[in-house]
């Protein structure tokens, strides 16, 4: 079996936002309203003068136990055997229950207006036919062609790494197995598949 996951090394994310631009172009997202499938926080953390700047990329966590799927009243949200969580734009009625259930803030609305704007902005190449809630697909269409997700391929700091957790030879899945990469909010029981390598070390 295949079980896709992403590891993000916060030590080498340089906050360039290339992932945001690559994802937007690849997945034809509504940039006109600054709506993103993936985005990079630029955060100031720490007390007083002991202050750090941290770049923190975010995206759908493709949970093994996805709350967005549990709450979806129409069955539009579904999960592939390889772990990818997808939305069927024809079945989605745009109720946003999934967006409220998602603890990772990973879902955005694409409206009728956005679809019209998208046809204009992306031209003939625009793929979307219907409005729906929109989210990261791990670039499933690229994976089928043997390519990595657009954000991974473009990452200049090689902070984003993609892997198959079921492949023990995969060096990135070994990072996950080693425990150095950890998911966000695992206590919620969502069993997420985005892992982060911490960049903050204890000093002094």
């Amino acid at each position: 079996m295949t079980h896709y996951a992403m590891v993000i090394d916060l030590n080498t994310c340089v906050g360039c936002n290339a992932c945001m631009a690559a994802c937007a172009m690849e997945n034809q997202t509504p940039v006109w309203k600054s709506s993103w499938r993936t985005y990079v926080h630029d955060k100031e953390i720490g007390n007083g003068s002991d202050v750090h700047r941290r770049f923190f990329p975010r995206l759908c966590n493709h949970c093994d136990n996805p709350p967005c799927m549990s709450v979806c009243p129409t069955g539009a949200t579904y999960k592939l055997d390889n772990g990818i969580v997808l939305v069927d734009e024809e079945r989605c009625m745009g109720c946003r229950a999934c967006a409220m259930a998602c603890p990772y803030d990973a879902r955005r609305s694409v409206t009728y207006e956005d679809v019209e704007r998208g046809r204009e902005f992306y031209g003939e190449a625009y793929r979307r036919q219907h409005p729906s809630v929109d989210k990261c697909t791990f670039c499933e269409h690229r994976l089928k062609e043997g390519l990595e997700p657009a954000c991974v391929e473009t990452c200049v700091g090689s902070a984003r790494m993609f892997c198959d957790l079921d492949n023990p030879e995969d060096p990135v899945s070994q990072l996950v197995a080693s425990g150095v990469a950890r998911p966000l909010m695992p206590h919620l029981g969502t069993r997420p598949n985005i892992y982060y390598i911490d960049d903050l070390k204890r000093r002094g």
Binding site: V14, N17, M20, A21, W32, Y39, V51
Partner: protein, 689 residues
């Protein structure tokens, strides 16, 4: 960036010196929030510790640098090289008082001018005299120059405590490999050139020049140097010197070309040279090496520049792929120059309606890099592997545009009719031979309605590049089309065979890495006495307030100023109206488009998050507005602005009116060596707007 990230993953320790937590400083193990303009003090203290405590690669310094060369002080107290009658350098043999003469140009000091092998001494006996002169090695003279630059001294101006400076110097000095990344920009403070020189000297102290993990020479540069030395040795003339010379040899050729009126039809040197000589004669501040600068530009429009008693006027200007109204200093200088009554014609060649294009009489629309095949085959720039590359059009041109080479040819035809001279210059500058180029153009004219001259250039360039690597143009094309580059040699192989200076001279005057600079010594000997022209490393204080030191307290509303780049906007104009990048900038609007100010200082001025503020330059009284971004990621005494914004041309619909233009705050003031902008050497005052 890929290499930086790989270094981090491999466990490199990174220390960042920056008044603000930049993208790079955010990735550092230690962020040292140094006071603006004082980096030189930090680095001189570091250099002193490394030299005094022995954190240097002694073998490297003895063999491949001019550190062991002997100097003496002349009657005026100036350091002079102790040479023989033929100008050959002299050193002392290690552990002796024997003075040995070296080859004038070489990469290895172990061999004297007669081929005898010995080891030069870095620190000859203190009482040594030669020809009746008290002598010291460059190493000793440099150490003497650094005597006052203790960590305690540097702590005062930098705001970084002496113990930290000492620790960083030791950690850096005892780590191998270690590397200094010099940072961006030939501007900011009057000491910028000395700062860059001292950064290079510290790197050379570690022996980390052309070593894995150190400063690796760009392969194209190394290749040029190698070919140049080979030609010199064989006594050949260098063809197309503009394309084929490297290092100081290239710099001197350019200086010679633009400073000599014989190279121009009108018989005058470049106006920057005419103006600098005029200023020098009048006893005014002048620029020693005014190459590729705008010094004297305004004066040449106003009719103030003269050559041999005649006015030397600039009446027309072609601006190709540059946006000086937005990116040079200040905006008012360029707006006034371009709309001056004496300026009869302004031509802008650009891909977007930039702020500069708004001042053009004629705009010649150009293709973007996505729409064109480039006219040349290029070396791979700063890349460490030797390779050839070029661009292939990704899409056909979207608009009614023309290519730059075709534009320039046509303009020559209209302006002077001297198209033969134009082709001669192309041959000199780029190495593209005139006769085959003309032949190819006959063919490409039949195929291309537009860009036929570019296509001819490309055809000839492919033939020439392919012949050099013993391939056909078709083979070269197929590899580059497939992989983007044609790889000729790997960096490890290049370093092993032609490492500079371990295997081959560096393109300096002496062939060695020069701590005592031959260039600066000659400028100083020609009468340039400012500390900027010291041949050895020395201190030049930044002076943001006339007569006041950097560590003296600022007024309550007064700040130092610094600026930097956003990852999302380049300084050319090609992406400044890109809707996707503009959307990213909107997403991070508070960070990217606002003025960074420390909350502690903002509070005292009654400024809250997002408040509109007025900024005024205390030196020039230039003034503009911005929005406050309160953040502790900046020193309390400093303001920061990303320099990518402040677009004024409404035709740039995605960005016009966003953010603050730094060149509305930066005045025209330059340092004396190459007219580098002192773009941060002032203070700003801030009030709520």
């Amino acid at each position: 960036m890929v290499r930086f990230a790989q270094g981090r993953k491999n466990g490199a320790k990174v220390v960042a010196l920056d008044p603000r937590r930049s993208e790079t400083a955010a990735k550092a193990d230690e962020w040292l929030a140094i006071r603006p303009g004082t980096d030189l003090a930090f680095l001189l203290a570091m250099m002193r510790i490394m030299m005094e405590e022995g954190y240097y690669d002694a073998t490297f310094l003895k063999r491949h640098t001019n550190m062991p060369f002997l100097l003496y002080r002349d009657e005026a107290g100036e350091w002079q090289p102790l040479t023989d009658s033929e100008g050959r350098p002299r050193v002392v043999a290690e552990g002796t008082r024997d003075v040995i003469t070296l080859k004038k140009f070489s990469h290895d000091n172990r061999e004297n001018d007669e081929g005898r092998i010995f080891c030069p001494e870095l620190q000859p006996p203190a009482d040594l005299t030669v020809d009746g002169k008290r002598v010291k090695s460059v190493f000793q003279a440099q150490l003497e120059e650094l005597e006052h630059y203790t960590p305690e001294w540097a702590a005062v101006s930098t705001g970084i405590d002496a113990e930290t400076i000492r620790r960083i110097a030791r950690e850096f000095g005892t780590s191998r490999p270690a590397i200094i990344d010099p940072g961006w920009h030939g501007a900011r403070f009057g000491n910028i050139m000395m700062l860059r020189r001292v950064q290079a000297m510290i790197q050379a102290l570690t022996g980390g020049i052309d070593t894995i993990g150190g400063w690796i020479q760009a392969a194209e540069y190394r290749h040029k140097a190698h070919e140049m030395f080979k030609a010199y040795e064989a006594g050949h003339e260098i063809a197309a010197p503009m394309a084929n010379l490297a290092g100081m040899h290239f710099a001197k050729m350019v200086i010679g070309a633009v400073s000599n009126g014989d190279n121009f039809d009108h018989g005058k040197p470049g106006w920057t040279w005419a103006w600098s000589q005029q200023q020098q004669a009048a006893g005014e501040q002048n620029i020693a090496l005014p190459v590729m600068t705008d010094t004297g530009f305004r004066e040449s429009i106003e009719g103030k520049v003269e050559w041999q008693g005649e006015p030397y006027l600039t009446r027309a200007v072609i601006i190709n792929a540059a946006n000086p109204v937005r990116h040079y200093y200040p905006d008012s200088y360029w707006k006034e120059c371009l709309s001056h009554p004496n300026m009869e014609l302004v031509i802008a060649v650009d891909v977007l309606p930039s702020d500069t294009a708004a001042y053009a009489d004629v705009i010649l629309p150009n293709t973007t890099y996505l729409e064109r095949d480039e006219p040349m085959v290029y070396g791979n720039g700063v890349n460490q592997d030797l390779a050839l590359t070029t661009r292939y059009a990704a899409i056909p041109p979207l608009y009614d545009t023309e290519e730059t080479p075709d534009i320039l040819y046509k303009l020559t035809e209209i302006v002077s009719g001297n198209t033969e001279g134009f082709l001669d210059w192309i041959e000199t500058l780029t190495g593209l031979p005139k006769v085959p180029l003309k032949q190819a153009w006959v063919e490409t004219r039949k195929i291309h309605e537009k860009g036929s001259f570019l296509a001819a250039s490309r055809r000839v360039a492919f033939e020439g590049a392919a012949a050099k690597i013993h391939r056909t143009a078709a083979e070269l094309d197929s590899v580059m089309r497939d992989r983007g580059v044609y790889n000729e040699a790997d960096k490890v192989e290049l370093i092993n065979r032609w490492g500079m200076p371990r295997k081959m001279p560096v393109p300096t005057d002496s062939g060695r890495i020069e701590f005592f600079s031959g260039l600066f010594h000659s400028l100083r000997s020609a009468g340039q006495k400012a500390p900027n022209f010291s041949p050895l490393a020395t201190y030049i204080a930044a002076e943001c307030r006339t007569g006041r030191k950097m560590h003296e307290p600022l007024a309550e509303d007064e700040f130092y100023f610094t600026y930097g780049k956003t990852p999302t906007v380049s300084h050319a104009s090609t992406n400044s109206n890109n809707p996707v990048l503009a959307a990213v900038n909107d997403f991070k609007s508070d960070i990217y488009k606002r003025v960074w100010i420390h909350p502690q200082r903002a509070e005292a001025l009654g400024i809250g998050q997002g408040d509109r503020i007025r900024l005024t330059n205390n030196l020039s009284q230039q003034t503009t507005e911005g929005d406050a971004h309160l953040t502790r990621l900046i020193r309390p005494d400093t303001l920061f602005i990303y320099s990518s914004f402040g677009v004024e041309n409404p035709a740039l619909s995605q960005t016009q009116g966003e953010g603050t233009a730094t060149n509305k705050l930066i005045p025209y003031q330059v340092e004396p060596v190459v007219a580098g902008f002192k773009s941060q050497e002032f203070t700003l005052r801030v009030q709520k707007a």
